[in-house]
Amino acid sequence: AQSVTQLDSQVPVFEEAPVELRCNYSSSVSVYLFWYVQYPNQGLQLLLKYLSGSTLVKGINGFEAEFNKSQTSFHLRKPSVHISDTAEYFCAVSESPNDYKLSFGAGTTVTVRA
């Protein structure tokens, strides 16, 4: 069974600074990896996903993530954050390409300050 660890529960960051959110997973088989964002009072929204191919994945709103199989990581980055990036970010993994049987991490709360 797969599991996901998000190493930081809270990340405060200043506007226009870079941010990295760390995600590690454990699985004995091939994995498919996701980052979701939840803005206040909204549902989860897909930022990006890795299914196959290039290990560097670009998503919406200037986010990108890199799949590192040897380190079992899928860290999320943004070079310059905005106030509007304040949200909760969830990393998720699936072991099957055929269904959304996702296991999520506990989330990282990003607070962007001016």
Binding site: Y32, G43, K49, P97, N98, D99, L102, S103, F104, A106
Partner: protein, 114 residues
């Protein structure tokens, strides 16, 4: 227009009661899901329906029963509520079952059992 809507957003109820959470999607998707976010904020899948047919049924107490009257709705009924059922429940939908499609999530329903 909200793509995936859940009602109610908040639900406080006493132990032993029976309650339902409703989910509707207006995206024309074939597949719908229920996820549970526990007190440690881990989201795990409970059920998935594709074209009104149950395709994922994780190890969930029998007190939980999903019902899909049509493709646009997947309601969650919970009988004999227990304190441990307190959680945030998320509904989601996707065009198909594969990960090459995108799953859209609702805002969540916070259930508190007292």
């Amino acid at each position: 227009d909200t793509a995936v809507s859940q009602t109610p957003k908040y639900l406080v109820t006493q132990m032993g009661n029976d309650k339902s959470i409703k989910c509707e999607q207006n995206l024309g998707h074939d597949t719908m899901y229920w996820y549970k976010q526990d007190s440690k904020k881990f989201l795990k899948i409970m059920f998935s329906y594709n074209n009104k047919e149950l395709i994922i049924n994780e190890t969930v107490p029998n007190r939980f029963s999903p019902k899909s009257p049509d493709k646009a709705h997947l309601n969650l009924h919970i009988n004999s509520l227990e304190l441990g059922d307190s959680a945030v429940y998320f509904c989601a939908s996707s065009p198909g079952t594969g990960l090459n499609t995108e799953a859209f999530f609702g805002q969540g329903t916070r259930l508190t059992v007292v």
